[in-house]
């Protein structure tokens, strides 16, 4: 059936040109496995009652865990990962009646979902582990009993962060802790991941205190570096379980490009709505992922409108789903998806995680989610057992989406992203040292293994501020506020602004977001409603808004400059040199645009102080003679010739060169998320025809986070690939003078001016030439 629908799409004149590529993922037979030693009767009973036969990868996981190893499982969604670790955990908890296990899920919803599965395992097997969720919602009077009697406790990192200081109450559970399960582990990457990595080290430290040394089980989406990632996240050795033994149905993966001809009559959102309805009407149960909450709402709304006259019976079968809904509402949608009542649901990535909604026939992904991991996770929602399914990726006009559309092979052949964990970020380390110091005194002899080599110096720095004190018993936390309150796991900024509407708290955001999105006059979107910012109080960190219905939105403009603080590493590739180091970026929001759809209808000035932050970045210079070289070629082009009688040659030359550098900066930032796991909004850039620190034409790319989070550090290593791919992107783009698909940036503070596509290509070619050259000067010097 799916095959017929896909070919109908291909034949339909409305869609056919836009289908850039269809990848067919072949079906797969199951591979079952065998265990060296039989499972206990209790567990066999459970498997029997559930009609489960173990796949090969599940057996592999069981054997490793039986042997005391820690494992990372990377098999795809719906391959029976949970069972792969539940079986050996229950086996151990059955043999050792005091053994305990801790399961960590990134969200409360997932924890509750998982509780059902474990409870069923417990009651069908009769092993008696009394599983329970322990999180912020657990009533205080139930907590002591859970700690005392539950042998499987399901929680989340945020709760663990708060709980560790109370270890004495957890003594029984912690001293018998045999397993820690961390599901959806790929979520713990970047800054969040680095924080979780130290949280885990704090847990291991407290376990050591009570004499336990648990095995870790990580379950994650496919990553390029699962072992490296796991070992950095946890700090122990890992074994990999990657060969999926579960059966798969045939899957069609469609790349759909509204901008196939460079222009589009309909926006990606409209195209998404049409495709979504196309599949729903063909009776495929369809889940549509959008990039924002607002789009999830709007696409559901438009779709309902679309069927109102023609197919009114579909009205109730379409809905949106996102974070922010009440738990009961979410449960209801999840259940109605599972039992098939709902035929189409639009959702943010809230449903990308493992919430059990069953499997669907079709998934529409509106816009590349930024990572291959997420794309496959979302696509993995389609595919019921061995039946056929379809996933459709709808491209936006941005360079990355366009690149994928033009180079589908890259998507299907490329190994998935690297997940970054930064274990040397002093911001993160020092925060967790304060927390650790409030859990039990920090003894230098023991802590190096958890917190790295800088522990002593960091502690001394903290001591100077009175946050920690050195005592004969070790370093003791002595700050006035709770350490775990000051240190948040998923956002390094603890500088939080409150958004107040009519005296009530609407939401919170950090300082950068406040400057960018909640300056005076900004339109703030919250759950589909528009609010106008009346006041941004920088001292009190309070934003006053008023709910007003408007049909426009705002976009702040900023100027950025950058200063090199310290060069940490420099490397040469041929005659091309790239540096990496500490930089300080200064961002200033100078004004904002008032937008209606894609049109600017007004501009206002802003008077905000600059935001300074120290971070890490990479930079490379371009030989000064490049300016002349490219000018020679460029001045022969028609567009320049035309302008030569209007502007001076020097002026044009300057514009061409600056436009080329600027184009490189934009295109490179656009392409970086492909090599380094991040969002393009996580990275900043600056280009200067003559930067005061290098005295040369320079391009900077830097981490958009205080202290740096390893993004440009990784890009520094992959610079050759990045430069190559940037050139391919710009060169192969069908546009004339640059477009959002190549050198236009959606977040440029300079209105995308100056930009010069041809110069961008020429400079990039020059850079690649430099890379190929041997260092002649050096050779001559010998």
């Amino acid at each position: 059936m799916v095959e017929r629908i896909v070919s109908a799409l291909e034949r339909n004149s409305r869609y056919k040109n836009r289908v850039e590529h269809i990848e067919i993922l072949s079906p797969k037979e199951p591979t079952f496995g065998k265990l060296k030693k039989d499972l206990s009767r209790n567990i066999k009973n459970y498997l029997l009652k559930k009609g489960i036969k173990l796949y090969k990868h599940q057996c592999g996981a069981i054997e490793y865990l039986r042997a005391g190893k820690s494992i990372v499982i990377t098999t795809p969604t719906a391959s029976g990962k949970t069972l792969a670790f539940n079986v050996p955990i229950f086996e151990r908890l059955d043999q050792d009646k005091s053994a305990t296990a801790l399961y960590l899920y990134p969200t409360k919803a997932l924890a509750n979902d998982q509780l059902k599965v474990i409870k069923e395992f417990d009651s069908l097997s009769g092993i008696g582990v009394n599983p329970n969720v322990y999180d912020g919602d657990t009533p205080p009077n139930k907590r002591p009993k859970i700690r005392e009697t539950s042998r499987i406790i399901i929680s989340n990192p945020y709760q663990l962060h708060q709980v560790l200081a109370w270890h004495y109450k957890w003594q029984k559970f912690l001293s018998n802790l045999k397993f820690v399960v961390i599901d959806e582990a790929h979520r713990y990457r970047g800054v969040f991941g680095s924080n979780v990595a130290f949280l885990i080290r704090r847990l291991r430290r407290i376990c050591g205190f009570y004499g336990s040394e648990p095995q870790f089980i990580l379950s994650t989406a496919t990553l390029a570096n699962p072992i490296e990632f796991s070992e950095r996240l946890i700090g122990v050795r890992f074994k990999l379980i990657a060969n999926d033994g579960s059966p798969k149905g045939k899957k069609y993966f469609i790349f759909y490009n509204p901008y196939f001809d460079g222009i589009s009559t309909l926006s990606t959102h409209q195209e998404t709505k049409d495709l979504f309805l196309f599949f729903v009407r063909k009776d495929l149960q369809t889940l549509c992922f959008t990039l924002s909450r607002k789009m999830a709402e709007l696409i559901a709304l438009w779709s309902k409108k679309g069927v109102k006259e023609s197919e009114p019976y579909l009205m109730d079968k379409i809905t949106a789903y996102r974070a922010g809904y009440l738990p009961e509402e979410r449960r209801e949608i999840e259940n109605n998806l599972k039992n098939g009542i709902l035929r189409g649901v639009t959702s943010t990535n809230a449903l990308e995680l493992g919430i059990d909604v069953g499997s669907l026939d079709s998934v529409v992904i509106s816009g590349y989610p930024g990572t291959i991991i997420s794309t496959w996770q979302q696509a993995g929602r389609a595919g019921r057992g061995v039946s056929e399914s379809v996933a459709t990726l709808v491209a936006f006009q941005n360079p990355l989406d366009q690149y994928l559309m033009k180079h589908p092979k890259l998507f299907f052949d490329k190994p998935h992203e690297h997940a970054i964990i930064d274990l040397s970020n002093p911001y993160i380390i020092s925060g967790h040292l304060m927390c650790a110091g409030s859990e039990t005194p920090i003894k230098l002899s023991e802590e190096g293994i958890y917190f790295g080599d800088d522990v002593e110096d960091i502690l001394k720095a903290l001591e100077r501020e009175g946050l920690i004190q050195n005592t004969p018993n070790g370093w003791v936390y002595s700050g006035k506020g709770r350490a775990t309150e000051a240190v948040s796991l998923d956002n390094i900024s603890s500088d939080i602004f409150k958004v107040i509407c009519d005296g009530e708290l609407l939401e919170t955001m950090d300082r950068r977001q406040a400057y960018r999105e909640a300056h005076k006059g900004a339109v703030l979107l919250h759950q589909g409603e528009t609010y106008i910012v009346e006041d941004l109080d920088l001292k009190k960190s309070v934003i006053q808004v008023k709910k007003i219905d408007v049909d426009y939105y705002t976009e702040a403009m900023k100027v950025v400059d950058i200063e090199i603080l310290e060069e940490i590493e420099k490397k040469g590739i041929g005659n091309f040199a790239v540096s990496f180091g500490d930089v300080e970026a200064n961002e200033q929001y100078v004004g904002y645009k008032i937008m209606k759809y894609d049109k600017v209808i007004g501009m206002e000035k802003l008077d905000l102080p600059p935001l300074n932050f120290k971070t890490m970045g990479l930079w490379f210079t371009v030989p000064e003679d490049t300016k002349e070289k490219i000018w020679k070629k460029r001045k022969e082009d028609g567009d320049i010739k035309e302008n030569l009688n209007k502007r001076s040659e020097e002026d044009l030359k300057r514009g061409v060169f600056a436009g080329g550098l600027h184009g490189i900066e934009h295109a490179m930032i656009g392409i970086m998320p492909f090599h380094v796991m991040c969002d393009r909004w996580d990275i900043g850039g600056v280009s200067a025809p003559n930067h005061p620190d290098t005295m040369k034409p320079t391009v900077f790319i830097y981490d958009g986070f205080e202290g740096g989070i390893g993004l440009t550090e990784k890009a520094f290593e992959l610079i050759v690939e990045i430069v190559k791919m940037t050139l391919e992107l710009v060169r192969d783009c069908k546009c004339e003078d640059g477009c959002p698909a190549c050198i236009y940036s959606p977040k440029c503070g300079n209105e995308n001016k100056p930009l010069d596509k041809k110069a961008t290509i020429l400079i990039l070619e020059e850079l690649l030439n430099l890379m190929k050259q041997e260092d002649k000067i050096k050779v001559r010097g010998r």
Binding site: Q162, A165, E439, I458, A461, E465, S478, G481, A483
Partner: protein, 362 residues
């Protein structure tokens, strides 16, 4: 290399400064991790601006007055030596007679409540009493309730307060007078009235331990003060030295605050200390006894309304951490004085209110 080293340290200092700013901004919140809800009477938040300003003035006055003075100059006490190091030990005493109902009376009161026996509700109790079974002792021969009655009497005869309290608490709320009565089965000398001053709501050092005991018509007050954070283990030790097999705790909100706090700090330092003792937390009783008569059941409010005590130059509980921090940073002992006084007065007030409760429910 040297320059690198310098640079690295500068970075760490810059980061530490940043942390200090964010740590200082953290506000204590209503419910902290741990199962117990911190009752509203305890929460020191809601300190009003005037109160804050007065305290700030007091602090400045003290800083001026005690500039250059040593602790010994200002507060009579001595250095206490323990296995865990040293701390500062302060002794005081005062007249105070504790009016606790006598144990026979308490026993009578308890035994005359037949509802303590499984299966007896209000109706059954009335019928039984009409039939002549006035006390639990009269029930020992009863075919249905006899064995329960005998069991309870055994516990009562042993004077095992923990078991008595557990038994009563099974049938009545924790604030019930019958529970308070069981406190009279102990010698006055075994009562440990205690109260701690801390750097915050949990997970930070306890800076002062106050323990009061009753001896005749005297209240003996012992305080263990940290002159710096290093001295916390010694002060813990000093506090623990008062606890014997027969000790009974009398606190105000100690069940949810002081006891878990001390336990947390003991675990923090990996120190041993047995705090499993009968515990009469008078917050619950006070609430039951006077809730209607006072605006709230904070200790200071009770003190003001029931005992007519108006504290002078007091540091509000919420600002104890701030005062102590000022002391640590300035090394000026001035801000310590109201903390020590505050703690001492709290102990005395707890003792008097405990006594008042016994009178109230006589």
């Amino acid at each position: 290399m040297v320059k690198d080293e310098e640079k690295r340290k500068t970075t760490f200092h810059r980061i530490s400064k940043k942390w200090r700013e964010s740590v200082d901004k953290v506000k204590e919140y209503e419910v902290v991790e741990g199962e117990e809800k911190i009752s509203e009477e305890f929460i020191p938040f809601g300190i009003d601006y005037q109160e804050y300003q007065e305290a700030e003035k007091l602090k400045q006055r003290l800083l001026k007055k005690y500039k250059g003075k040593t602790l010994e100059d200002v507060i009579e006490g001595k250095e206490l030596n323990t296995k865990e190091g040293v701390c500062y030990y302060i002794e005081n005493q005062d007249r105070l007679s504790l009016k606790i109902i006598n144990p026979e009376h308490a026993r009578k009161k308890i035994l005359s409540d037949l509802k303590l026996i499984y299966g007896i509700g209000e109706v059954t109790e009335r019928i039984l009493k009409e039939e002549g079974c006035k006390t639990i002792e009269d029930l020992t021969e009863h075919p249905r309730f006899g064995s329960q009655a005998i069991e309870f009497l055994k516990i009562l005869d042993k004077c095992d307060t923990c078991q008595i309290v557990d038994w009563i608490a099974h049938w009545f709320p924790k604030s019930h007078p019958l529970i308070l009565y069981s406190s009279s089965f102990h010698n006055k000398g075994d009562l440990i009235i205690f109260d701690i001053e801390t750097m915050g709501l949990f997970t930070r050092p306890i800076i002062l331990f106050g323990v009061a005991r009753i001896s005749g018509d005297q209240i003996l007050i012992n305080q263990y003060l940290l002159r710096n954070i290093k001295e916390e283990p010694a002060a813990l030790k000093g506090f623990l030295s008062h606890i014997s097999e027969d000790s009974v705790f009398i606190t105000f909100n100690g069940r949810t605050f002081d006891i878990p706090y001390v336990r947390q700090r003991l675990a923090y330092y990996r120190m041993k200390g047995d705090l499993e003792r009968p515990h009469f937390d008078i917050l619950h009783f006070s609430r039951r006894a006077w809730r209607e008569k006072v605006p709230n059941c904070r200790l200071n409010t009770l003190e003001k309304y029931l005992l007519g005590i108006a504290r002078k130059d007091d540091v509000p509980s919420a600002l104890v951490p701030d005062f102590y921090e000022t002391y640590m940073r300035s090394k000026n002992v001035g801000p310590l004085i109201p903390i020590i006084e505050h703690n001492k007065q709290d102990l005395v007030t707890v003792a008097i209110i405990f006594s008042r409760l016994h009178e109230e429910w006589r």
